[in-house]
């Protein structure tokens, strides 16, 4: 198991001003698997997720101790270029947030800021990304249409395509289906299942069934601490800690 680690977190603590949001979290995330982060609101799971691509940096007054290594590289090292890091670690947000641009330009945004100018090359990337996000067949005839004209589920898949277009290794998903109806949710879940062949996926979810359906591994957070992590099947049938069992069976949270 030790060799098979893509994201290695050691003693990670995070403070918003004086409030501690993460307490000594140590956690290994393997490549090409789906790892679900679960726990009641305010338990730190989203904060943990956002510390993996340093989106917490955008907030004033954040202090971090401990280490996060991705492929052996300490991402909080002074030498690390945050911009490069975020290209390797893509993120899907809770609320779909396509740019007010065309579908094509949404997906082409990442490659363009990376300096891809050639239109043929851009078109290729856009098509591949949309195919991978299972959206191509629905939009291939109107790539010029605004991304905002799509349905909620389509918008979220557009955001996934947009993230894939910069060719990341890791995809962070922050409750990607919480605002979607059951059918759109099912599509996203199916997509997650397909994407793990090429990408390492870390997903935050409030929905226990969803965690059980899509993830290989589950980590349970409670008030800033990692309580327990293990194979999803085991976590949902025979968790080691009583807190985990109580949360999963719906006794609190």
């Amino acid at each position: 198991m030790n060799d098979n680690v893509q994201i290695r977190t050691r003693e990670l603590s995070l403070f918003y001003g004086k409030k501690q949001a993460l307490i000594n979290v140590s956690l290994d995330i393997p490549p090409n698997r789906v790892t679900a982060l679960i726990g009641p609101s305010g338990c730190g799971k989203s904060t943990y997720l956002r510390s993996l691509n340093r989106m917490n940096d955008l907030i004033d007054d954040v202090r971090i101790t401990g280490s996060v290594e991705i492929d052996g590289l300490d991402i909080y090292d002074r030498q690390v270029d945050v911009v490069e890091l975020r290209k390797r670690v893509g993120m899907i947000f809770q609320k779909s947030n396509p740019f007010p641009k065309s579908i094509f330009e949404n997906v082409a945004y990442g490659p363009r800021i990376n300096g891809v100018r050639d239109y043929r090359r851009l078109s290729e990337i856009v098509e591949t990304s949309l195919r991978r996000a299972a959206l191509w067949d629905e939009v291939k005839d109107d790539l010029k249409k605004s991304g905002l004209a799509l349905s909620g589920g389509q918008q979220q898949r557009l955001c996934i395509a947009r993230a894939l277009a910069v060719d990341p290794q890791v995809l962070l998903m922050d409750e990607p289906a919480s605002a979607l109806d059951p059918i759109a949710t099912a599509k996203i879940e199916e997509l997650i299942y397909e994407l793990k062949e090429k990408y390492t996926i870390v997903i935050v979810t409030h929905n226990m069934q969803q965690a059980a359906r899509v993830s290989d591994l589950t980590a349970f957070f409670y008030i800033g601490e990692l309580v327990e992590m293990g194979e999803t099947k085991k976590m949902f049938t025979t968790p080691e800690k009583k807190q985990t069992e109580e949360y999963i069976t719906g006794r609190f949270g």
Binding site: L58, D60, R86, K87, P98, F99, L148
Partner: protein
């Protein structure tokens, strides 16, 4: 007791309604007076010819050109400066930083400085300090830049309107959803790429609104240009930045205080005022339209 309260209540309602109505009435009286006085003089010819016969006849073409030139130069100097300041305040400065607070305080204070003070500042700084320095630097013997001209008037006006631009552009920039910034940054865009490709394009209506509000304020102000460039009368249109210019607002003042023949110029005064008002209304109206569009988009 009850009746006393009721009477009091209806008096308040009546009083406030009266106060509100009187504002509308005052506006109506002003507008009617001006339209009435100016409608006979206002014509295509009035708009396109120069004053004639010691300014007791003819049109106001040079004053229109001068005003347009003034606001154009003012916008070229003021809008970029305002946008950059607004960007700094909303995107780069930490809200608690002393510098950002200082800038904000300065902007608010600047907005409250009487316009005549700007005029005096423009005369002292641009005309006498910068202008004299430029003349010396170019080695000229004759006075070229160290005298009031359209460039210095525009610079002074740009300073005056800077707070308007900063405040409205900053509001527009803040209206760009955080989600969009986060999405761009999460794709590996730098802060500047995010500002250039996401923040600015999505606040362009706000930037335009700021520009228009500044222009509408600048078009109506006379005090700042009194000492910095406005001319009483010019036989020719300004051909260089170092030329003086005529201005609609100043023209009204001149016509009503310095005229040699009050009866002959009365119609011209009214018509000039009407043109100035129409210009100002049109600009404000387009700012309002732009702004409501911006709001609607921010909601969606």
């Amino acid at each position: 007791m009850m009746t006393g309260r009721k009477v009091m209540g209806s008096m308040v309602v009546g009083g406030t309604a009266l106060a509100a109505l009187s504002i509308v009435a005052i506006l109506a009286v002003i507008l009617l007076t001006i339209v009435n006085g100016g409608k006979d003089t206002l014509s295509w010819e009035f708009l396109t010819t120069a004053p004639a016969e010691g300014m007791t006849a003819g049109g106001i073409f040079p004053a229109i050109v001068g005003t347009v030139l003034l606001v154009l130069l003012m916008s070229i100097a003021g809008v970029p400066a305002g946008v950059i300041t607004a960007l700094y305040l909303s995107e780069y400065a930490s809200q608690k930083s002393i510098l950002a607070r200082g800038v904000r305080f300065a902007v608010n204070t600047l907005a409250g400085v009487p316009s005549i003070v700007f005029g005096l500042f423009g005369l002292g700084f641009f005309v006498q300090f910068v202008g004299t320095g430029m003349d010396r630097a170019f080695g000229g013997v004759e006075l070229r830049w160290a005298q009031p001209n359209v460039l210095w008037a525009s610079m002074t006006m740009a300073l005056l309107t800077l707070p308007v631009v900063i405040v409205s552009v900053e509001e527009a920039i803040r209206n760009v959803p955080r989600d969009l910034r986060a999405a761009s940054l999460a794709l590996g865009a730098t802060k500047w790429q995010t500002i250039w490709k996401i923040v600015l394009p999505n606040s362009i209506t706000g930037i335009l609104t700021g520009g228009i509000l500044a222009v509408s304020r600048g078009a109506g102000e006379v005090a700042p240009i009194l000492f910095t460039g406005a001319a009483y009368f010019l036989p020719h249109l300004p051909g260089a930045l170092s030329d003086q210019f005529m201005h609609l607002g100043y023209h009204v003042f001149i016509m009503s205080t310095q005229s040699t023949n009050v009866d002959a110029t009365r119609g011209i005064q009214y018509a000039t005022t009407l043109v100035l008002l129409l210009l100002s209304f049109t600009l404000n109206l387009s700012a309002i339209v732009l702004r409501s569009r911006l709001r609607r988009r921010a909601m969606a």
